[in-house]
Symmetry: C2
Subunit: 404 residues, 2 copies
Amino acid sequence: MTHPILHGLRIVEVSAFIAAPIGGMTLAQMGAEVIRIDPIGGNIDLRRWPLAPSGTSLYWASLNKRKRSVALALNTPEGREIARALIAAPGEEAGILLTNLPASGWMGFDELRKAREDLIMLRLTGNHDGTGAVDYTVNCASGFPMATGRGGEPVNHVLPAWDIAAGLYLSTGLLAAERARRRDGQGREVTLALSDVMLASVGNLGYLADVAVNGTVRPPMGNELYGALGRDFETADGRRAMLVAISERQWRAIGKATGLAEKLAMIGPLLDVDLSTEGGRFAARRAIAAVLEPWFAARTLPEVAAAFEGSGVLWGPYQDFGQLLAEDPRCSPANPLFATVDQPGAGPVLAPGVPLAFSSNPRPEPAAAPVLGQDTEAVLAEVLGLSTAAIGRLHDAGTIAGPT
Amino acid sequence: MTHPILHGLRIVEVSAFIAAPIGGMTLAQMGAEVIRIDPIGGNIDLRRWPLAPSGTSLYWASLNKRKRSVALALNTPEGREIARALIAAPGEEAGILLTNLPASGWMGFDELRKAREDLIMLRLTGNHDGTGAVDYTVNCASGFPMATGRGGEPVNHVLPAWDIAAGLYLSTGLLAAERARRRDGQGREVTLALSDVMLASVGNLGYLADVAVNGTVRPPMGNELYGALGRDFETADGRRAMLVAISERQWRAIGKATGLAEKLAMIGPLLDVDLSTEGGRFAARRAIAAVLEPWFAARTLPEVAAAFEGSGVLWGPYQDFGQLLAEDPRCSPANPLFATVDQPGAGPVLAPGVPLAFSSNPRPEPAAAPVLGQDTEAVLAEVLGLSTAAIGRLHDAGTIAGPT
């Protein structure tokens, strides 16, 4: 097989920000042709921070890799007609729209279906009733900020986790709908609400059941695990390491690698707990930490890494984004996930592809994002069969725009 | 269409903890038949906290809804032979294995392929080189704990976001591989490393490019947004609200709903910033907050909610897990995502289904998780065609186990 796994699939994306762009990019990085349509001049996310010195958004570039970019005057009937034609273009593997913008008017499912009856349309909304919500306003309601940190005040996590999960639900849903269409010929509208992604996750992780069955609201516990042994430790060089033992094998590995097995074993009779169970180690976590703290405090992070190498100890270093890029060999071209790409307006950057690898298909090399409108002419020629003259007229009329 | 979207697809899952179970559950909740195989007595996650008073794990139950459970003596050749037969059972839509356990020995792809050449096998590892990692040890290295909170010490987020994303990459990858097999008849091994999920996400969100291009390591900013207006505010009743304005429309809505538009407009000339831009509002965020703080402090959370109702203001309440379940109408059977199910060992719990809805297919009602071994006999009869007598002999020999 010489083609990436999704070669041949064509998706039109009309999107902004994170969730839908991640869904589309995931499929693009698996080989699908993903055509992102934006208004001329760009959508609301085109200049989102962080920016490169050139003004290019590193945010936009990072979220739209390996897509094709088409810029259309979506505020005119002519521009919308071209968008509709791209969305409804023929082809067994085409006719798929992914959006997180308000899907009303010309973008309504019933309206677009007039142009292609078997259209698949994925639509991300804020709430299931159609009202608005974004990652930040969903996250505050999730319960997690109240359970993060040491208490006293809620702590928002900085990772837009709900957007990422929503993007991956969209890629899952898109492939499920395309699978079904291949069997029954039917199009589908697939809807997903960002707050439902949060609610499903809170439920799937057992937090709702814990409230309902036990009346327990999980309190914030700093960097400690709940129900098993795990915590961060400071090292001699002012760094930190996260140490975890979920299985008994991992617990024994800690004693062996640190040479503290005998001292750790004394904690069982000391506190009358069974250290061979997760619950016992959790109950004894403060005493265990008291024994381990001096061991970490006497060693630099590289010395800790050396002691744990090949030991079966489950641990990881704390790194900021700079240390991640500078120090972690997993975050380098040595990891097949990455390649250095030349991002227009930004220069060479380390860019990831998709983390999935398929044994019979090549994983596309990581690629840069387009500049806005980069592929307008090529897509109109290839997908709609427009002539150079027709494209020129649309350009002159301000209906389409090339790279800016 | 009377069937759920993935009706007919059969997946065998050999898993533990969060990531692979979420991948399998997502597909089960879309209508696939997902058979989770565990050792007799259960896998390492069977008693993971939180527990119901009965000892039933609410964690396990929440992560394995709508699956079938088969318990086999996987430490014996006979038990492994049955597992292999289930994995390799005939059927165009079968022959798919999802696992996050070490896939060596009988579980190796090349070994299992001897039983079914077109096997699709999804395998989650810790790191791309096969070494171990879990959500906690991946997260500490991601940079996010160093950018979360107010600084001074790293703050782990409590949400196992990398596990959730990994589960959804697995569901995406599984459908992509099954799509490809349908076209070319080939099986595939699909691999995914948990740390690659983290690394790809950090890159996709622009953090790596910001370091590489600007040398900027995003600092912790408490609950403030980066590059746009957003922060939490305390209310008169000791609650908190998250307020966000990304678009200019959302910014104007805040002025209108609070009656503070004139005061807010004064901040532009006061600080020489252009409040019609995201960057300007970000630069002026402290002054904007100073104007808004007394407005929130004078109102209870319900009064804030009433003032913002229908106003176009983008906001959300902070809630702990108990308040989420007690107060949020989205987290109730009024939301089609949810239903109250009777979970064995736990009683009635509010359980989510999958957040995706497909217009031409019913969304399966949320369902409970099985008890361990609940479906052993039925699956062996249906999938392998074993007789009652044969199943009885396997039971007597200790090769299989029913519900315990």
